[in-house]
């Protein structure tokens, strides 16, 4: 049979077995079809098993294999100063860990990782061995390693070395504003300062996303599982330049006077914004506390540690007197020649004695007896009320942790001489921040402000607490003038006067009470609180040095120079216009330390009067010295420029108020300008 030109023989056809077998072929076909059907059924059954019955389990296995849960980092909120300079930032860092149960050779592994991570290989091997013996599947090798170390470890491509991204808090300025910022622990939880009190806002909450990966664990797609909440950035009211100057000058002051510690605050008196807050000794928040380290250097003394303020408190006494009595700055006050007998107690003036002083001179010379006399005129109830009104006895509310409210005894617990003690700043304890608040009342015209440290949370400005009026404006202005007198003629003469600016303040020196011996020691809390310029204060500064000794450790000698240095820097930084000619005609001689104030108090009548121990020369009445100086010319009708030129030519310090033509002047033309005074000229158009 020819097929396509090829002939197939019957024998070949037989071999092909294509003939005579239809029934068998059909049967086999049936079997094959049946087998195929069975095969299909089996596949179908398997599919049902996979896709329906065991769907959940297999889907879970698939997810485990294909999905990767990736953490979305949420760093802790940074902290900036008021000009946007970072004070604290969190930076992601790698931490390395191993599963000791999967480490093939612990000896080699510890040598390898120890060399790269600068760890003791033996110690690491022991740790891994311990974890292995206790069937622990996780062991930190080293946390927060450097970028270089991480890259070097990754280049080994060892699957049992694993990494986790953590966050490391950095304080790039080191010790700057350490007590304000505080610090964090290893898990970035705040353990001091604002890091602690605002931990809730600062802390970020990491989120996660499910990432679909390929066989090489490369991400293909991702789905948000938990949203990340980054910490809120905080902008502080602190100005890092003023803060730096404050810390530098405070450290100089403490070391120069061999004080135990010190604190300083710079505050805007109008809104309570704290421009600088520093303590000494201080610490570096980048370094965690070491075992056995003295915790004292981490105390925020300005906020948490109250002390007897001493004579700076006389500002409160005189303010209360101006408000509640008919006493005026020129009212005479009998100072009893330096000795005042009280029930069970004799008060001596710390240095010399005065006969009759005006109220202004009581503050200038910081007469204890004069302050007590004024306090008696005010009365206990009024004194207590005004002490409370000035914010003493309750926390100032700056938002820092462990803020002390100081100690003010209730009126019913006052003793027979408590009014006298309180009048000169004893039997009360205050913190520096409370003193700053009280000083702000004088500087801003009689309003009690709440100290403020947070300028912005995120991009939102934080609200300022409304100020509360506690003094009449005229009282505050009068107090400003009295405090200026302290700088010009009083205990701070030559120590707190600023070049080109007017300033006012009050010195204070309080003996430190020894609770063991129940005696006052010869160590002092030397303080100064002041402001500048006088007419429109840009800031107030409170300086306290604790544990000074000797006359140089009094407030005027120890704290006032710190005020002067910091105020000079702050005025420059804040670009405050000068209100005096820059070059002083001559250097003023500083008041001798003997004339510095020193307020002494004791615990009560049963206790020895430490006052008696103070060497105090019983001088006579200090009559006001006859004033001598240049006569003031008539500036009226002249322009600002002409007045400035004439005053400069005569070497007269000048205070220019307004613009245009000179309309009035103090002192009047022809009057003698007392030393340290300046001529105020009011201009108008």
């Amino acid at each position: 049979m020819p097929v396509h030109g090829v002939t197939i023989t019957p024998a070949a056809m037989d071999r092909l077995a294509l003939r005579g077998r239809p029934p068998a072929y059909s049967r086999r076909l049936t079997w094959v079809a049946g087998g195929a059907l069975l095969w299909l059924l089996l596949i179908l059954a398997k599919l049902v098993s996979l896709q329906v019955i065991h769907h959940g389990a297999y889907a879970r296995l698939a997810r485990q294999q294909q999905e990767l849960r990736v953490e979305i980092p949420a760093p802790r909120g940074p902290i900036f100063d008021r000009s946007g300079q970072p004070l604290a930032i969190s930076v992601p860092m790698e931490s390395v860990f191993v599963n000791p149960l999967r480490v093939p050779d612990m000896g080699v592994a510890s040598e390898l990782m120890g060399r790269i991570l600068s760890l003791d290989a033996g110690d690491l091997r022991n740790r891994m061995r311990w974890a292995y013996d206790h069937q622990r599947g996780f062991l930190w090798v080293k946390r927060k390693i450097t970028h270089t170390e991480a890259e070097e470890l990754r280049s080994l491509h060892l699957e049992w070395i694993e990494f986790q991204t953590e966050s490391q808090r950095h304080y790039p300025n080191g010790k700057l504003a350490a007590h304000v910022l505080g610090s964090v622990d290893h898990d970035e939880r705040g353990n001091g300062g604002l890091e602690l009190s605002l931990d809730g806002q600062l802390r970020g909450y990491a989120g996660s996303e499910l990432m679909l990966t390929d066989v090489k664990r490369r991400g293909i797609d991702s789905q948000l599982a938990t949203e990340a909440h980054a910490g809120t950035p905080l902008t502080l009211t602190i100005d890092s330049r003023i803060q730096f100057a404050a810390e530098r000058e405070l450290a100089k002051g403490v070391e120069a006077h061999h004080a135990r510690s010190g604190s300083i605050m710079v505050m805007n008196p109008y809104n309570g914004e704290i421009l600088a807050l520093a303590n000494y000794p201080t610490f570096d928040p980048n370094e965690p506390p070491k075992p056995g380290e003295d915790p004292f250097r981490r105390f925020d003394l300005a906020v948490s540690v109250p002390f007897e303020p001493g004579s700076v408190f006389k500002v409160v006494t005189l303010s209360a007197a101006l408000e509640t009595t008919n006493l005026r700055p020129d009212s005479p006050i009998n100072c009893y020649h330096g000795v005042l007998r009280l029930p069970g107690r004799v008060i001596h003036e710390a240095h010399g004695g005065y006969g009759t002083l005006t109220m202004a001179q009581v503050l200038e010379k910081s007469s204890n007896i004069g302050a007590i006399q004024i306090g008696f005129r005010v009365g206990a109830q009024n004194m207590y009320d005004y002490v409370r009104r000035f914010g003493f006895g309750s926390p100032a509310g700056a938002g820092l942790p462990a803020e002390s409210g100081g100690l003010i005894r209730k009126l019913k617990r006052w003793g027979k001489t408590s009014l006298a003690s309180v009048s000169m700043g004893h039997e009360v304890s205050t913190t520096s921040i409370q003193l700053a608040r009280a000083c702000a009342v004088i500087a801003n015209g009689g309003l009690l402000v709440t100290p403020k440290l947070i300028l912005k949370e995120g991009s939102e400005l934080t609200p300022t607490e409304p100020a509360k009026r506690i003094l009449r404006p005229e009282t505050a202005i009068t107090m400003r003038q009295l405090m200026e007198g302290v700088v010009l003629r009083g205990t701070a003469r030559g120590r707190a006067k600023l070049e080109g600016y007017t300033s006012g303040g009050k010195t204070g020196t309080a003996q430190i009470f020894d609770v063991k011996t129940h005696h006052y020691t010869h160590q002092y809390n030397g303080s100064f609180m002041g402001f500048a310029p006088v007419t429109n204060p840009a800031f107030i500064i409170v300086v306290t040095l604790n544990g000074t000794s000797g006359t140089s450790g009094y407030g005027a000698g120890a704290a006032a120079p710190v005020f002067k240095a910091v105020a000079t820097e702050a005025l420059r930084v804040l670009d405050v216009p000068k209100d005096l000619p820059e070059a002083s005609p001559e250097k003023e001689e500083a008041a001798p330390p003997e004339t510095d104030d020193l307020s002494i108090a004791d615990l009560g009548s049963s206790e020895p009067n430490i006052m008696e121990e103070v060497a105090a020369s019983q001088g006579g009445i200090s009559a006001p010295a006859e004033e001598a100086g240049p006569k003031v010319p008539n500036f009226r009708g002249k322009t600002v420029r002409a007045v400035v030129e004439e005053a400069s030519a005569m070497g007269l310090p000048l205070l220019v108020d307004g613009s245009g033509i000179a309309r009035a002047q103090i002192p009047a033309p022809g009057a003698v300008l007392p030393a340290g005074e300046r001529v105020r000229v009011e201009f108008a158009r």
């Binding site: 396509h4 023989t9 077995a17 300079q85 080191g174 991400g219 293909i220 730096f244 820059e582």
Partner: protein, 165 residues
């Protein structure tokens, strides 16, 4: 074309071709196959049957209808393939975009981390303490009182040289 049959049963193919040639020219009786030889597979003579075909004498006749059907089939398959490609393209594109997106996300995170590190470095470089050390090293001093002169503007707004007027 080499098939499995021609590969495995080359010897039989030779025999068949020889048998076919005997039709034209008879030869002496061929050597009988070994009856005791075991077959490798049942019916292997069917499944492994191969024959040589000589198509040299065939002439391909043009069949426009078949050609048209063929082209129609090709077109249909091409269209189907394009539709399939179009249907799959978004998914494939999405996958590739996903790779790119994840890579970019990682890059972004790396850059954010890097920026944080650089901010720390920058802040340390411009910290007041360091600047003061540098200023001291370069003997930069604060101006003495009277050294700074504040110029008062003229009526025309000029500031310079007014000290000499």
């Amino acid at each position: 074309m080499a098939t499995l049959a021609t590969y495995f049963r080359r010897d039989e193919a030779v025999i068949y071709s020889e048998e076919a040639s005997t039709v034209a020219a008879p030869r002496p009786a061929a050597q009988p196959a070994d009856p005791y030889r075991l077959r490798a597979l049942p019916n292997e003579n069917v499944y492994f049957f191969s024959k040589s075909i000589d198509n040299s004498r065939l002439q391909k006749q043009k069949d426009p209808r078949a050609a048209k059907e063929c082209w129609s089939a090709i077109g249909a398959f091409a269209a189907l393939a394009m539709l399939l490609a179009a249907a799959l393209a978004p998914s494939v594109g999405g996958t590739f975009a996903g790779y790119q997106l994840q890579a970019l996300k990682q890059e972004r995170q790396r850059l954010v981390d890097e920026r944080s590190r650089l901010e720390v470095d920058e802040a340390a470089l411009i910290s007041p303490g360091r600047l003061e050390r540098l200023a001291r090293a370069q003997r930069l001093l604060e101006p003495a009182p009277g050294q700074v002169v504040h110029l008062e503007p003229h009526a025309d707004g000029s500031l310079a040289m007014n000290l000499h007027k």
